[in-house]
């Protein structure tokens, strides 16, 4: 059976209601301050929603391993882009200033 299986309507509606509820939660948590956790919480919620869409609406749950592989590759390469770019941006300040540098605000 190569064509996607016919998913029961009930599943679609369940996913739909979960997505709406998660959206409410997403909005709600933005009104509390969890410090550095804020962004990770928002991303975790968004990722949960995205997973629901990918798995059920896009039928990934019922797809071949090949397609799982391609989706995984997309994720991996995106993290690569962010990760290695970040590796530069966030370690630039680690370098101690040479002696006599930046004493009167001339440093970067």
């Amino acid at each position: 059976m190569a064509h996607s299986p016919i998913v029961p309507q009930r599943v679609y509606w369940l996913v739909f209601i979960t997505l709406l509820l998660l959206t409410l939660v997403t909005v709600d948590v933005a009104f509390y301050d969890f410090g550095w956790l804020n962004i990770y919480l928002a991303l975790a919620l968004a990722t949960t929603k995205a997973l629901l869409v990918v798995l059920y609406f896009m039928h990934l749950k019922y797809s071949s391993r090949l397609i799982w592989g391609f989706v995984g590759a997309a994720l991996f390469w995106f993290l690569l882009l962010v990760g290695l770019t970040g590796a530069d941006i966030f370690t630039r300040e680690w370098v101690p200033d040479p002696p006599g540098w930046g004493a009167n605000g001339s440093g970067p």
Partner: protein, 544 residues
């Protein structure tokens, strides 16, 4: 590989060239073989246009003074040379011409998975090319092919927008080609054509497609953001707003470093076919070569920061990128060693395609090893932005990619056109190109090491001798490229008819008539054996 093929009288045979006539039958074709020829015509045009700019550059550099062009003009010359050669020749050359023609034939498919997308990719390429041509006509671009911000986004007064649009559009043709190859290789293989029976040319194109798919969109967005910044003054890379110009370089090199492997991987794929055929030997270490292609594609995405060692990038990132860059040497060396091992004790014959292949191995090795110098953080600070870098990447791109492209074009020319080219002239041209190439670019290693920076049109007098050598070599190289152009066209009309398999080579493409019929295979072939089956038994069978 045993393949039942119906024997038909060769003379009345319908092939993809004579199945229909007229300009419409070409412009609306969805046949991958015809699209390959459309690409062949267009990339050749861009090759000679880019070459024309190179001629002007080398003429200017004959003397230490700026006597031929002004510095602004010179900036535009090297930018247009780079933009045209990279985006409009090197990247599409092997995949879109040879790959397009051969991928379906080699795996036993009737066409690529999406023939109309394939045609669309050529139109997109042509449209992007027209924008770039327009930019050339209106005066060119002076940002360098790298479009570094904030110069490109704010200060340059040249045709940045037109060129950026051209490159942005052309990127999608590359994406569509990669997409088509990936799906075709996954879903359209003939019965029995398992992954480890695929010709290594296919593995190389699979790896190339991965880069096209994952890298090209990132450069597209980077170029788009530069365009938006110029047009609407939104400020994503604008340092005046606290934006980071290096962010552009990250996005740019995320694609543009792997793009080097878009150029070299298919070339390596071609070399596998040539080496095995002309040394009559099975490839040494099939699976190592296959996986090294994939390894190069993946590792290629981890090393882009080595273009930014002196840019103000964090030195810690620099160290990581430096180490990761060295890793690329491993799969590349695996390939070189395996090719040499294949040649060992082979019955080598020196036909024109083989001359290019041997040239490739030598020049690629030099280009690759000097790449390790440049990957070394400390050495790179010394030779960064000098002619050493210029020489290094020309050894890879001209000595590697173009050598393999020409070798492949000679090798499959009888299949593509049904005509034989003059062998003597072809060997002569290969020799001229090899000599001209080395004379052009070897002196540039020395120039760079002595400290001559790239992208200047005046230089101290002590560099003149080496520069004159380089310019002399360039003129030899130019003649070398014109000769095949002439005899290829000549052979279309006067060349003798090519048989099905003029080289006695293995592979499904050699089992169909030359030129192949419109749908490649009258009967879907069933593959039963490994590729490169140049065993004594099969050689005897061929002789009979």
């Amino acid at each position: 590989m045993s393949t039942p093929l119906v024997e038909l009288p060769r003379t009345s045979r319908v092939n993809y060239l004579n199945v229909s006539y007229g300009i419409r039958s070409w412009l609306f074709t969805t046949d991958h073989k015809r699209i390959a020829l459309l690409y062949l015509a267009s990339v050749t045009l861009f090759f000679f246009l880019g070459g024309f700019f190179a001629v002007l550059i080398r003429l200017e550099l004959m003397t230490p003074q700026g006597d031929l062009v002004q510095s602004e003009t010179y900036n535009r010359l090297f930018t247009m040379h780079g933009v045209i050669m990279i985006f409009f020749f090197l990247i599409p050359a092997i995949p879109a011409v040879l790959g397009n023609f051969l991928v379906p034939l080699m795996i036993g498919a009737r066409d690529l998975a999406f023939p109309r997308l394939n045609l669309l990719s050529w139109y997109i390429y042509t449209l992007g090319g027209l924008f770039t041509l327009a930019a050339t006509v209106f005066g060119g671009v002076d940002t360098g092919w790298t479009f570094y911000t904030p110069y490109s986004s704010t200060y340059s007064n040249s045709n940045v927008m037109l060129t950026a649009v051209g490159i942005f559009i052309t990127g999608f043709s590359s994406i569509l080609t990669g997409l088509n190859f990936l799906v075709t290789i996954h879903k359209m293989r003939a019965p029995g054509m398992t992954w480890f029976r695929l010709p290594l040319f296919i593995w190389a194109h699979y790896a190339t497609s991965i880069i096209m798919i994952l890298g090209t969109p990132v450069v597209a967005i980077a170029i788009l953001l530069v365009g938006l910044e110029r047009l609407f003054h939104i400020g994503i890379f604008d340092p005046k707003l606290g934006g980071d110009p290096l962010l552009f370089q990250h996005l740019f090199w995320f694609y543009s470093h792997p793009a080097v492997y878009i150029m070299i991987l298919p070339a390596m794929g071609v070399i596998n076919e040539l080496i095995t055929c002309f040394s009559r030997r099975r490839i040494f270490g099939y699976s190592f070569i296959a996986f090294s292609s994939i390894a190069i594609a993946v590792l290629g995405f981890l090393v882009w920061g080595h273009h930014m060692f002196t840019s103000g990038q964090s030195i810690y990132a620099g160290m990581v990128f430096s180490v990761l860059t060295m890793l690329v040497a491993i799969p590349s060396a695996v390939k070189v060693f395996n090719w040499t091992a294949t040649l060992y004790k082979g019955s080598v014959s020196y036909q024109a395609p083989m001359l290019y292949a041997l040239g490739f191995i030598g020049l690629f090795t030099i280009g690759g090893l000097t790449g390790i110098f440049l990957a070394t953080l400390a050495v790179d600070v010394h030779v960064h932005d000098t002619y050493f870098v210029v020489a290094h990447f020309h050894y890879i791109m001209v000595g590697g990619t173009i050598m393999a492209y020409l070798g492949g074009l000679h090798y499959w020319w009888p299949k593509m056109t049904g005509k034989i080219y003059p062998e003597g002239w072809a060997r002569f041209a290969a020799l001229v190109i090899f000599v001209g190439f080395n004379l052009t670019f070897f002196p540039q290693f020395i120039l760079g090491y002595l400290g001559m920076p790239r992208r200047y049109h005046v230089y101290p007098e002590e560099f003149q001798v080496l520069n004159v050598m380089s310019s002399a070599g360039a003129s030899i190289l130019g003649v070398g490229y014109l000769i095949p152009m002439i005899y290829f066209i000549w052979s279309l009309r006067y060349g003798p008819k090519a048989p099905e398999n003029p080289w006695g080579a293995k592979g499904l493409e050699w089992l169909v008539p030359s030129p192949p019929p419109p749908h490649n295979f009258d009967v879907t072939p069933v593959v039963t054996g490994e590729p490169y089956d140049y065993t004594p038994e099969s050689e005897e069978a061929h002789a009979r």
